[in-house]
Symmetry: D2
Subunit: 330 residues, 4 copies
């Protein structure tokens, strides 16, 4: 389903070339200061325009159509929509027959018996991440003073990010990247054993972001090469502070008060300027496909703010489930 959360529950909707994309946040407590200007900074970080991102120009102005009154959340569902403006549908008519490699064109066509909106990827478009970022803005306010920061740490295996982008542009290629996210100032006790472990819920939401191929917490894949005596984080005091943080701030699925740290792998953008082959569903033959339009060279450039958003959404849900809220917390 297109919704997530038990108490801080978000539902997303919309298509790349439909009328709007948007999100409804149900379960947000009353009394959170909120207006449309609060969204602009995070939306701007997600926005197109930077080197290596598509020049599609959207104003991306959020419109809050419910749930906020006199500048505060009311406790009723908050719905935020973004009108689609720069929709060049003619660019996409070919996709009906030519599923683009790496995209959801083929799977969507099969799953929805050909009724899916294929224009610009339709509902599968990364444009839906506007909804995630918006919900993240509300979640961040709710979980304050928890602080969440994500950043690109390498592109195409290179920590000199600008150089890697230039190289890809010059080759008509796209490139993958690694993004790291750190949440700090956490209470002990968020999360639950087994199915609602902090790692379970964060990874669930992280893989809702298009193009993610892997996630690792704390020591991550390096843990597979470590001894137990190296890996164990020694508890130093009553607050739960540990000597190292291989556990990524989580034991038994529950926050231990140390930082939550995780990294994700972002694949290279599937749309590239080079010619590719694909199967033509109509002719039944392999054919060459040139993907027109304008696309991100490195979709990961937009990912940090989205990653912060889904992490905040996960923590907001745990926060409320635990009976905490921003009023009692501050």
């Amino acid at each position: 389903m297109n919704s997530f959360g038990r108490k801080f529950k978000i539902s997303i909707f919309g298509e790349s070339h439909g009328k709007s994309v948007g999100v409804t946040i149900d379960g947000c407590p009353p009394g959170i200061k909120l207006d449309e200007a609060d969204f602009l900074s995070d939306l701007d970080r997600r926005k197109s325009g930077a080197k290596g991102t598509t020049p599609r120009q959207e104003t991306d102005l959020p419109e809050i159509i419910s749930g906020v009154f006199n500048g505060f959340s009311t406790g009723a569902p908050i719905t935020i929509i973004f009108k689609n403006e720069d929709t060049r549908s003619k660019d996409y008519s070919k996709l009906k027959e030519h599923p683009r490699p790496g995209h959801a064109d083929f799977t969507a066509f099969k799953k929805y018996n050909g009724f899916n909106d294929y224009r610009g990827g339709g509902h599968f478009s990364a444009r839906l991440t506007l909804a995630l970022v918006s919900a993240g803005v509300v979640a961040k306010k709710l979980i304050s003073p928890i602080d969440i920061r994500a950043q690109l740490i390498s592109v195409h295996g290179n920590s000199n990010i600008e150089q890697a982008i230039d190289d890809a542009i010059s080759k008509g290629e796209s490139v993958g990247a690694i993004v790291e996210c750190i949440a700090s100032n956490l209470p002990v006790g968020l999360g639950e054993p087994f199915f609602d472990s902090v790692e379970s819920v964060i990874s669930h939401l992280v893989f809702a972001i298009p193009a993610i191929k892997g996630i690792e917490f704390g020591s991550g894949f390096k843990a597979a090469q470590m001894y137990g005596s190296e890996h164990n984080d020694l508890i130093l005091d009553e607050s739960g502070k540990t000597s190292s943080n291989h556990a990524a701030g989580i034991n038994g699925g529950i926050t231990n008060g140390n930082e939550i740290v995780f990294r994700i792998a972002v694949k290279p953008t599937s749309s590239i300027s080079k010619a590719q082959e694909t199967f033509n569903l109509k002719t039944g033959k392999l054919e060459q496909l040139m993907i027109g339009g304008r696309h991100d060279v490195c979709v990961a450039l937009r990912v940090p703010v989205i990653l912060e958003a889904v992490t905040a959404i996960a923590l907001a849900d745990f926060f409320l489930i635990s009976g905490l809220n921003h009023l009692t917390n501050t």
Copy 2:
């Protein structure tokens, strides 16, 4: 919560040193051939006793107490319990004050205000994976002819697994490992965009297994170092078969008919024979802790069958949500 799934819904319960651990499976369709003997093979793969695993001896005989009649599932909830027999509670009394590094002792104590059953980790015990494996046995039958196979591919960075285990034993250490899982013979169309992507649901369940630190699908973390033209899997025919499988059989969160492939990182067992320091919650001082009892040198040795189980559970849920069931499928 201790339940998961929308249509194939599992709820687990129990503690390491309580009366029983068990699972209820709600939503399993009627007509699946099922008796207690069907569980033994997978339970045996999970069982203690192998070199590198703890010699705790449990008979681990499943008792089906509801939902099966005349050898077939009835459509009513299936509850399976395992009586706990070899419970040496005296070994664990010290844990009340000495939270073991790497375990949930500290977080459970804080989250549950000291009311948690701390004996052997209580509800956080890996013994609860009996419940997961059992649910997996039912799920595997349901999703037939989908085939799921997981195996250890390296221990402590070494593909010579036996040698790595021997090394760890000789050092009084524990070691981490990598496990790979492959699901084949899949229909196109399982999974949903965004929150219920196949990756989201599988990773959610995978991180419900204790000791997992990372997961990567298909190209995984290597994708971060690839170009788009390398990464894209070309579609070759109408069935969706692709030339390569960097996407791990999933596009836009939905199965494309190719194999689902993923790998997970398992941390070294937290319980080790060496002395460790930890904070004593009663005295307020750092103290040396020797963990008695008998423990796995490499917990990952038990993980493949658990990993298969949770993958089967995830696919069974998608399967039923899609309106498929084992009768229409076969």
Copy 3:
């Protein structure tokens, strides 16, 4: 929460005097013919203007902003919004202090710590039933050929409805009523034992409609005065047809193929033209309150189409949960 359903899942949002009210329907299968004109007939039945309903004039034109492409549902979430136009906020400023008897003003104020949008009842407004009726239109299409019909059977205890309305108008009063709903052409097997019985899910949704005080299925409260031999419906043939229908087409929570029949009690509209006393939250005194604005004399006049809608929503969810859909059904 403001959402309902497991597979046909609806989420409603909006306030009486906010920008919009609306609904998102998640889980609707692809291929259902759908455009905005399809909603007009049911929306018209709900609309204000009839004798005994408030003259508030809303155009109530639905705008489908996602999930429909080329005239068919796509399988992605369908969001439908209604802009609020005739909002006279000044009428309502007094409500901040004077909770109206019979309304949610007091409970909303307390629950949301005074942050609720109190204008016209805010999120508690019956205007939100636009969202229910719209979801009902989609649900009715999905469950075709099941047919659902609801009608007023008495007003103020009188089957001469017009006379009862005239009497109430002349007295400055409002009046209650009974509405009956019948669903026919049902398959055997919708619903589940215990928590998801057909009666459970229908009544859950029925009590989501404002002003409902009771529901009874089949023999209803008369069953309390019957003998078993009178009440039992004898099964006549293999299709499950019964000699009588005291069971309302449901045994053990599951449809038996006969008609689902139920009746609901609707209370008199809480807003009346007469002066009433209420507690002033600011002055701490009982004061006289005159409710301005224009209000329904008998809110039940609008209820039949809403009752059909929620019944259709309940059945649509059961329909999809059972693995049926409109394509396989027709």
Copy 4:
């Protein structure tokens, strides 16, 4: 599904003639004093043996197999099972072909393709209400000091209950009844608008009890005959106390601090001593059926404690959702 609740979540399982029936309660906070003796009083009220109830003798001793340690809830799932002892399966073999009027035999057979356990109604047996009563015992402790009392107010339309029972016994009949439930000492603010109104959730659970045909809150069906000025409950003070209680303590789906009052209609027991006709699924003919075994003359005699239980379960869930718990509450 066989589970209910968002934070106080119960899952029930078992069959009349299987090994056990039981319940898992997930989400119960730690620190609630709980042992097996606590269940006996409510279980005894539900028990067979009273005049007008079946003489089937079950010891009905609850066994807590998880979630309780040292006499207190731990925060982990609480599972309680009841072994079935007095199971005379031979009595029921005929039911495979002869669906009993008023029972779920026919619908279960169709829904589960003949795989259902038909012995004594299988999973549809009223024996599953043991699970509801047990969960109710825990819920009542959790919501203390809220007090819930249900009682029979009439049998077969007669407030002289004993006489009505004697009359039915003498005729070989069964009889219906009305039960009333009152919850007092409530906080303001439990429940939510629309789908999770207090009436929605209570009625959902009430219709999970077998044999219920109707429910009405406060003024109930009489509201349909009232004027608004009669029905409105005037608010008298800051606590929300009202002059009358037609609203049953609920406005806009949310508790207003006054008593929750509702009544339910219970149908006559479907199993009667008289001969009845039914359709034989094997011979395809109408045949006479004599239901052997021993049955309740008035199943409603057992209902009050079950009704209290489901009301407590509903309130416990609202209680926890609202961030309250028994420790902060007392």
